[in-house]
């Protein structure tokens, strides 16, 4: 590890990141009104910087796809659709005037009527179709897993099938089965999930603290 102490530029970066992170963390556990004010300012700055990063990203995507269309690249058609979609969303979400009681007005939020209509008519059906496709993917993955003969994959498939069968209305009314499934959910499944959660939480805690003290610096393009 190259020590930030030997590099003033890195030291300043680590101090800014560490102190900012610590203030927001302390506010999270309720360290008092002064910390709250500072943390709120920092979080707003972070949100602003993120928004600027997204705007830069949009320009980058726009330019890259425009170049592909100009160069008549093999998949320029997709780029054309993407740019068209981008323009529709931007115009509908920011620039499309709607009639209100006081006259014409631009959309106040991204959840207002024009953009909501675009999302309802285009995005939501597409997202729902992809989700529906998962059912067939799951079926195919299950068959492949059984064919592969891997013990852990077969175990997951058998447990999933059992869980599905035991939740059938006909079986759920049988008292012993209903209680057994409930017991499995409350103890066995919850214990496994909590074990996974605890391990992940420890990993997240160490990852966060290492970022605070400058052992990891993904933000520093050194």
């Amino acid at each position: 590890m190259s020590s930030p102490l030997r590099n003033p530029r890195q030291l300043i970066t680590v101090l800014i990141a560490g102190v900012s992170g610590l203030i927001v963390l302390l506010d999270f556990v309720g360290a008092g009104p002064a910390v709250r004010v500072l943390a709120t300012v920092l979080v707003r700055w972070a949100a602003l910087i993120t928004a600027i990063a997204v705007v830069i990203g949009i320009f980058s995507v726009f330019r890259s796809h425009l170049q592909r269309i100009q160069m008549r690249a093999p998949e320029a058609g997709y780029s054309l659709v993407l740019l068209g979609g981008m323009m529709i969303v931007i115009v509908a979400g920011i620039l499309y005037p709607t009639r209100t009681a006081t006259g014409l007005a631009l959309p106040a939020t991204l959840a207002a009527i024009p953009i909501r209509t675009v999302f309802r008519l285009i995005y939501e059906p597409l997202a729902a179709s992809l989700l529906a496709l998962l059912t067939f993917f799951a079926l195919r993955a299950m068959l492949r897993a059984v064919r592969s003969g891997r013990a852990e994959a077969i175990f997951v498939v058998v447990v999933a099938l059992l869980a599905l069968i035991l939740q059938l209305p006909l079986l759920a009314v049988i008292p012993v089965i209903g209680q057994a499934v409930q017991w499995l959910n409350d103890y066995l499944v919850a214990a496994g999930a909590r074990g996974l959660l605890l391990g992940s939480a420890i990993g997240a805690l160490v990852a966060g603290i290492r970022l605070l003290i400058g052992f990891d610096m993904p933000y520093a393009d050194r």
């Binding site: 008092g32 996974l196 990852a207 003290i213």
Partner: protein, 264 residues
Amino acid sequence: MTLPAIFFIIILVLVIALIWLHYARVQAGRVPERRPLPALEVLRAALARSAETGRPVHLSPGASTIAAGEGQRASTAELLAGLNIIGRAAEQAAAGGASIVVSSADAVAHLALRGVVRQSYRSFGQEQSFDPRQIELWAHGDAMAYTAAVAAIYARTPLEASLLAGAFAQEVLLTAETGAERMVPQVLGSTHPSALSLMAITTPHTLIGEEIYAAEAYLTPTATPQARLLTHDALRTVVVWLMLIAFGYGFFRIAFGWPALAGW
């Protein structure tokens, strides 16, 4: 200052002390033996093969976001784990001349990835080989769109292997099943139980829960990741002991009439 804040500061100081202690221990050459993680051997082998075949290895920190807002799936920690793994894999790629494609589903994560991969190439004196076009933003804030994009890349580009380690939910099936169908060796890791079950049926190479945080230590012999692993193990041991003590207390308190623990 409230009691939780004071408690938090004490824990923070203890964990920082533990990290420094383990760092010093590893620097002194006291590295413990680790259990094998075969999934990472698959990644190593793919990176080595990539240098010969020229086919890229796809690396992804998942559809993770930095500073997830209210109502979103908080995934900053998984993203950090993914960044660390990708950084180490990029080091191996830089050292061996392997080709990589790195993708993400968040504009800020995309910028962080560029920094991490550039650092990796620079640390091996291969900055001239770093191409920012290796790091691509395939979606923003939409896990389903991102996994569909990864599936499309599987269909279009011959890959040596693909690593997806970070925040995923059930949508990972879209990618993982496409990869399995096209016989792309996949290393999949997540902390999400529903994603893990789907990963387990689509590939034999999975990183389960905390293993995505430990993976970095398996990809490099440097001191920092080893110290991180030791700190994980120490904290896990503390948690296990606390649970055992609490269980023992709960068991005997009825017999001896001791007071109940708060929150139990």
